[in-house]
């Protein structure tokens, strides 16, 4: 166990925990856009920055990656911290002016758009938080999507923007996307869904007869777990 203070509050925490984890356990709110409890931290949104003082040295660190240490003093709302967060949010607001989720975060934090930044006009809501890519790789395990290009051109897509043969149509990427950028369309009858440009046939539940999961996803789960496909043919509600 280590002792530290966050915003003047004395806290005991387990060594190896990050500042963000400890802060949340203690009811201290640090805004984030790319952190998710099921995923390893990546430190890309930079919204969770905090100011830490350890010994004589004061510096700005990302709370989702920085581990607590004995004697650490953390300030989650210093001027420097707020200035960095404000710019991050203003930059994202200019990148994705249509994202309602960003507007909400900005409102909560009292951040106004910077009028000097001309809003982007490409109607993209992706903030490159990487949650979809990490979920596809680490949770689903298929790596059907990744990044192409670099820097300002960077975007999430399937390899070479072609229909992905490894995608199982599970929709986890769309589910985890915080801004609603990734769209998944389902037909009226529910017999097919389209994501990343590919249409997946849905399977009906053996019991209730409703469409409940893509055939490819069930086949993937079967091959991964060794559970016979037949045992997976019943939807969650009927199981």
């Amino acid at each position: 166990m280590v002792n530290l203070t966050i915003d003047n509050k004395k806290i005991e925490a387990e060594a190896g925990q990050t500042i963000l984890e400890v802060a949340r356990e203690n009811g201290i709110v640090i805004p984030t856009l790319c952190a998710h409890e099921s995923l390893d931290a990546t430190g890309s949104c930079r919204l969770c920055v905090v100011e830490v003082k350890h010994g004589k040295r004061t510096r700005i660190v990302t709370s989702c990656l920085y581990q607590v240490a004995e004697g650490l003093t953390v300030d989650t709302k210093s001027e420097r911290v707020l200035a960095a967060r404000r710019l991050v949010l203003q930059l994202l607001l200019a990148r994705c002016p249509e994202s309602e989720q960003l507007q909400e975060v900005a409102k909560e934090m009292g951040v106004e758009p910077e009028p000097r930044f001309t809003p982007d006009k490409d109607n993209v809501k992706c903030i490159l938080c990487r949650m979809c890519v990490r979920t596809c790789e680490k949770i689903v395990g298929v790596s059907a999507i990744g990044f192409s290009y670099r820097g300002t051109e960077k975007n999430v897509c399937t390899p070479f923007k072609e229909d992905s043969l490894t995608c199982i149509g599970c929709g986890a990427c769309a589910y985890v996307c915080p801004t609603g950028h990734i769209e998944m369309e389902t037909t009226e009858t529910g017999d097919a869904r389209t994501i990343w440009g590919r249409t997946f046939k849905m399977k009906t539940c053996k019991v209730c007869g409703r469409y409940f999961a893509p055939e490819d996803q069930l086949a993937y789960i079967s091959s991964k777990t060794g559970v016979p496909a037949d045992n997976l043919a019943v939807c969650i509600s009927c199981r």
Binding site: T42, R46, T62, L87, V88, L91, R116
Partner: protein, 617 residues
């Protein structure tokens, strides 16, 4: 070469090769670094070989192709031993004449001599050329003595003696202490003490441990690492092997940019030859220590010079940096303890081991020891690589060694530290250059790039150029860098196009602070430097652009107009002939005029006017 099995055997091999090099025997040395090859030097090399063969002189006269000598401005370059007669800008067909006159008869060919622009005097011997005379070519000097493809050459000048000494006479801890005592600081940009890094890696838990040579030199205009790897690959390799022994590593990597084909070719050959000679691989020099090196070619991303992005790239992933709260010395490549130094840092190591830390620490300043190689480019007479002791004044580098600014123009600034360095104004020219001094005034050492700017450079435009470079090289992982730098670039572009607004400078400053604090890696957190340093020292230029819609240097096209000074114009018609759009016109012997509607502000008239009659405002 057969395997050398002990330090004693190495010594006798060195002696044998040394004895084979008669210092009195004429030797023609020619630089075949990338710069000189670009002049077409390979043809000159072929001509020399042909002419020597024709005269049956191949045995009587040594002929050596070497790596870069540094004086790239004056290539192709030929030096003739034993007197070290120095010929520059040698014609590709001059080989026969040089052999017949200078090598055989000792006659000097006047037209190939270097003329000192300061005195107008011709200089015969290499050592007397002012460019070389005022340098301390400790690390780089060996380049002109060895054929980079020849291990024999490197051994003849005492190469691998430091390795022999380290492996047979020193404990790993002693080597680390020696490097700490020498205070060798990383030449790649950070300036972190190499010895302490080695110490941490040695003490870190986990195996294997990796040793990496960062040869992903990517700063615009900087090429000292390329020239070392190209010109003296065994020196770099020797440094790495010593480091690996001290750290306890058996596997090393050289991460070199793919844009450096000659460097990769030469280091590949050096590795093969060193392996053959028992200097690399299993049981090096019979010491029981084994270490090998692999080369990895980088795919062309500037950010891969950043250590954690380099590891990612080496591992086969996209070159994106990660937070460094856990140091690479604990968890680096493949999450194993990793020691990374750049080419120049490794090249310093053999000198420290051979001559001792005390000797090394006697060169330089209190906080920065040894020498530093700078690549001097931009508005400078002697473009090239310059090696000077730490603490040398900028003025000496620019004017004494660099020969000053071409065309009698006035010095305005020197940009050091690569694209994310800062622009240093004239008032700091008498400052000694070392890691700490450069940081104090808002710039940095970086890998040693120096770009000289004169009165014709617009500093807002310069800031825009470097910011734009960083926009295209940002990996895109974190928001402040990916989104912030491009917004700064857009504002800078507005300013140079006359669309700057009141408050832009303050906004740029505010953004810079937040980006420095918020960015994930050093690329992002140092990206605002060019903007901050130009605002700090050339704020008036920003103000002139924004408030008066005027570019004082006459560079930003949207803010300037071309006109003719009626008093100076002689009506020579040259401007009307070079003007590509017909904007400049006039009758012979009559004052010409420029039609602002047709004028594209290309500057051709101004460059061609012999009477300085074109006004740019």
């Amino acid at each position: 070469m057969t395997k050398i099995k002990s330090f004693n055997e190495l010594k006798s091999v060195q002696e044998r090769f040394k004895a084979g090099r008669d210092p009195k025997k004429p030797c023609i040395t020619i630089c075949v670094g990338t710069g000189c090859l670009a002049y077409g030097t390979q043809k000159l090399v072929d001509n020399f070989r042909e002419e020597l063969a024709k005269r049956n002189l191949a045995d009587k006269i040594d002929f050596r192709t070497t790596g870069c000598h540094g004086f790239c401005e004056r290539g192709p370059m030929v030096v003739i031993a034993p007197d070290k007669v120095f010929y520059q800008r040698v014609g590709l067909a001059d080989a026969g004449e040089i052999i017949d006159k200078t090598v055989l008869k000792g006659e000097i060919i006047d037209r190939l001599l270097y003329v000192d622009p300061a005195t107008g005097q011709k200089v015969v011997h290499e050592d007397d050329v002012p460019f070389y005379k005022k340098q301390t070519r400790l690390v780089f000097g060996q380049n002109s003595k060895v054929d980079p493809e020849s291990l024999e050459d490197y051994l003849a000048i005492g190469g691998y003696a430091a390795l022999g000494k380290a492996l047979t006479g020193m404990k790993p801890e002693e080597i680390i202490q020696e490097v700490i005592k020498a205070n060798l600081r990383g030449r790649g940009g950070g300036g972190f003490p190499a010895g302490w890094k080695w110490d941490s890696t040695r003490k870190a838990e986990g195996t294997p441990k990796y040793v990496i040579c960062n040869a992903d030199e990517g700063d615009p205009g900087a090429y000292m690492d390329r020239s070392l790897l190209e010109g003296n690959p065994h020196l770099v390799l020797e440094g790495m092997i010593i480091g690996a022994y001290a750290i306890g590593s058996s596997q090393g990597y050289i991460y070199a940019r793919n844009e450096y084909p000659l460097a990769i070719k030469n280091i590949t050959r050096a590795i093969e030859k060193a392996r053959e000679a028992g200097l690399l691989g299993e049981n090096i020099l019979g010491s029981g220590f084994s270490f090998d090196v692999k080369i990895n070619r980088g795919g062309g991303a500037f950010v891969c010079g950043e250590s954690s992005a380099l590891f990612a790239s080496l591992e086969g992933r996209a070159g994106e940096p990660r937070a460094k709260y856990v140091h690479a010395t604990d968890k680096g490549l493949y999450d194993k303890p990793t020691n990374l130094n750049n080419v120049e840092t490794w090249a310093n190591v053999p000198f420290i081991i051979e001559k001792g830390a005390d000797w090394y620490a006697s060169i330089g300043t209190a906080g920065s020891k040894g020498t530093k190689i700078f690549s001097l480019v931009g508005k400078i007479n002697n473009t090239g690589l310059v090696e000077v002791p730490m603490g040398t004044k900028l003025r000496e580098i620019v004017f004494d060694i660099g020969g000053g600014i071409p065309g009698g123009k006035k010095f305005k600034a020197i940009q050091t530290g690569g694209p994310s360095g800062g622009c240093i104004p004239e008032k700091y020219l008498d400052m000694g250059v070392d890691f700490d001094e450069l940081t104090k005034i808002g710039s940095m050492m970086g890998s040693g790039g120096m770009i000289v700017m004169d009165e014709d450079n617009c500093m807002v435009n310069v800031a825009k150029y470097f910011t734009n470079f960083l926009v295209s090289e940002s990996c895109g992982k974190c928001v402040p860098c990916r989104e912030g730098i491009r917004r700064m670039r857009d504002i800078l572009a507005d300013i140079t196009e006359g669309k700057g607004r009141e408050g832009d400078v303050e906004l740029l400053e505010k953004m810079s602070t937040a980006i420095i604090d918020g960015a994930l890696c050093a690329l992002g957190s140092s990206a605002p430097n060019p903007v901050l340093s130009t605002i700090r020292y050339f704020r008036d230029e920003y103000v002139a652009h924004i408030k008066e819609k005027r570019c004082p240097a006459g560079v930003c096209k949207d803010l300037i107009t071309y006109s003719v000074n009626a008093e100076k114009c002689t009506g020579c018609t040259v401007c009307s002939k070079v003007c590509p759009t017909g904007a400049a016109s006039g009758e012979r012997k009559q004052v010409h005029k420029i039609d602002v509607v047709k004028c594209t502000k290309c500057g051709a008239c101004r460059e061609s006017c012999k009477f300085d009659a074109i006004i740019v405002r």
